[in-house]
Amino acid sequence: MRALTWHGKHDVRVETVDDPEILNPRDAIIRVTSTAICGSDLHLYDGYIPTMRKGDILGHEFMGEVVETGSGSTLEKGQRVVVPFTIACGGCFHCSKHQYSACDNGNPADNQDIAMELYGQPMSGLFGYSHMTGGYAGGQAEYVRVPFSDVGPIVVPDGIDDDEVLFLSDILPTGWMAAENAQIEPGDTVAIWGCGPVGLFAVQSAMLMGAERVIAIDHFPRRLELARRFGAETINFEETRTYEALMEMTGGIGPDAVIDAVGLEAHGFFVDNVIDQIKASTFLGTDRTHAIRQAIVACRKGGRVSMPAVYGGMVDKFPLGALMEKGLTLKTGQTHVQHYMPGLLSAVMEGKIDTTFLISHRLPLERAPDGYRMFHDDQDEVTKVVLKPGMH
C-alpha cells in the first residue's frame, strides 16, 4: 500500500510499504477513505516530539471502510467507521471510567517504559504519534490495522459525507472536551487562545454549552473570521495587548474560563517565548508555552483553566503562584474520544455543529508532503488539509 512516512524534520514522503494484517482477535483492517493532517502532526513535522523513527507512518485522524475483521471484532465488512485517535481496550479501570486516553492496555508493554519515566504512569496508545505512545502505524495510508476495533471505531450511516464526520476522530471531541473542562456556567465569558481547528470547535462547543460571550485570540485574520462566524468576539494579538484587552472587555474581572488551544509551539516573539525557543532547539526544554502563561494570568479569580493543547515535557517560568493565589482550577488531558463520539455524531447529524467549514484543502494521499508544507507555511490560508487516498 501507499503511506505517508516520517524521515526527519520537514521530511515526509509517500512510500510503498507492506499492507497491514490482522494480528490480534479484536483487530480490524480499515481501507482509509479520508484522513486529515492535524495541528499536532506539525509538532512531529517540526521535530519537537521525541521517539520518532524513520519510516513511521503518520496520521491519527482517519475514517474508512472495514475490509477485514478478527474473530473478536464486532465490526462487519463494508461498514463505514470513524476511528478514534486514542487506542483503548475497554476493559481496564480507566476505560470503565470512560477515561479512554488513560487506558492501561492500549500501549504495548515495551513502549510504556518511556512514558512511565516521563509521566509516572503510561498513557494509552495513539495512532501515528511516536513510539512513546505505542509506535502504531497511522492513518495517512491506504489501509490501517485498528486494534480493539470492538471498542473504538464508530459506525456512521451511509447517507452522510466523510467530510461531515471525519473530525469525530480527534479535533471535534477535543474541542468539545476543552469546553466541558472549562465547566461553563450560564453568563460566563470564555476566552480561547488559538483559532485552529480545536479552538474553533471549542468556540462552537462553548456557545452550545451556554457561554454568554466567547473571546477568541489568534493572529491569523482568516481564522479569527471563522471564530466570528460562530459568534465569538476576537482579539488579534499582533495588533492588541491581549491581557489588557481581556481585562477591559470583561469589565476588569477577567474571563471566567480560559482555554489554551495552542500548545507547545506557541507563535509570537515574546521574551519568554524566545527563551523557550532557544531551549527547545538545544533540548534543554521541549515546550514553548506563552499561551498557557497568559491564559492563567488573565483568568479571573476562582476561574477555570482548560488546556486541550498538547504539551510533552517540562516547562519553567510557569505561573504557579497565579494558579494558587487566584484559586484556579486546571483541567486538561488527551481527549477521551470514545466517550464523546456517539453524542457528537448525533449533534453533527442534527446540524447543531458545523464541521465542513474547516476544510480548506482536499488532496490525494500522494500529495500529502505538499499538504504538510502548505499547512506548515500558511496557517492563515490553510485551515485544514484532508487527504483522500482514493482521489487522483
Binding site: 494480528l23 473478536g72 481496550c89 476493559g91 479501570f93 492501561d104 504495548p108 515495551d110
Partner: protein, 197 residues
C-alpha cells in the same frame, strides 16, 4: 498481606522499594542470598478481573511464556515441580527446576529453584483484592543469585540489571491478557510481529 513487610523497618512500604537494598534482600531471602547489587525485584500491578480467575491463570505454569518474554517454555514435572527454559544473551538458554515452596489457593504462590540451577532464584506471587472493587493486585517478588565468571556476567546482564524492567513488562502483558484477552502489539504486519517476539 506480605508477612515480611514490617520487619525492622519503620514504614509499611514493600521491601523491594527500600533504599537499603541489602537489608531488604536479607528480609525477603532470610540471608540465603548474598547481596550482589540489584538482585531483588518487586512489582505490583492491578488487574480488573476477579482474584480466583487471575490466580488460576498464573497457577497453570505452562501458560506463563505467553506473556513472559524471556521464558521459552515451562514444563510441568509434577504438581509441585516444573522445569524452566529461559532465553539468555547470545542465543543461549539457561535452565532450572523450580519447586513450589508455599501455596495458598487464590493468595500466594512461592517457589525456589532446586540445587544445580543455572541461575538460582526464588520468589513469590501474591494476589490480593484491590480496594474499591478494582479487581486484583498481583505482586511479584523475585530474588535471584547470578553466577560468577564470564557466563555469569552475560547472564547478570539480563538477570541483574534488566529484571526490574522485565518484570514490569511481563506484568503489563499479563494484565493485558487478563483484561483484554490479547497482548497489545503495534506491529503492522505478521513479519514485524514475529520479529518482535
Amino acid at each position: 498481606m506480605n508477612d515480611h513487610h514490617r520487619q525492622d523497618r519503620g514504614d509499611d512500604a514493600p521491601p523491594a522499594t527500600s533504599k537499603q537494598r541489602d537489608d531488604a534482600l536479607d528480609e525477603v531471602a532470610g540471608g540465603a542470598v548474598e547481596p550482589k547489587g540489584d538482585s531483588l525485584t518487586g512489582r505490583t500491578v492491578t488487574i480488573n478481573r476477579p482474584r480466583a480467575e487471575v490466580y488460576a491463570y498464573w497457577r497453570d505454569f505452562a501458560t506463563l511464556p505467553t506473556f513472559m518474554d524471556n521464558v521459552e517454555r515451562v514444563d510441568r514435572i509434577d504438581e509441585k515441580r516444573s522445569h524452566w527454559v529461559v532465553k539468555a544473551p547470545a542465543g543461549r538458554t539457561v535452565e532450572w527446576d523450580s519447586v513450589i515452596t508455599e501455596e495458598r489457593e487464590g493468595e500466594t504462590i512461592a517457589w525456589a529453584s532446586t540445587e544445580g540451577a543455572d541461575v538460582p532464584n526464588s520468589g513469590r506471587i501474591d494476589f490480593r483484592d484491590a480496594p474499591g472493587g478494582r479487581g486484583t493486585q498481583v505482586t511479584a517478588t523475585i530474588v535471584y543469585d547470578p553466577p560468577a565468571g564470564a557466563v555469569g556476567k552475560l547472564i547478570a546482564k539480563i538477570f541483574q540489571r534488566e529484571p526490574a524492567i522485565q518484570a514490569r513488562r511481563d506484568l503489563r502483558r499479563f494484565k493485558q491478557l487478563m483484561e483484554t484477552g490479547e497482548i497489545a502489539t503495534a506491529a503492522r504486519t505478521r513479519k514485524q510481529f514475529e520479529e518482535e517476539a
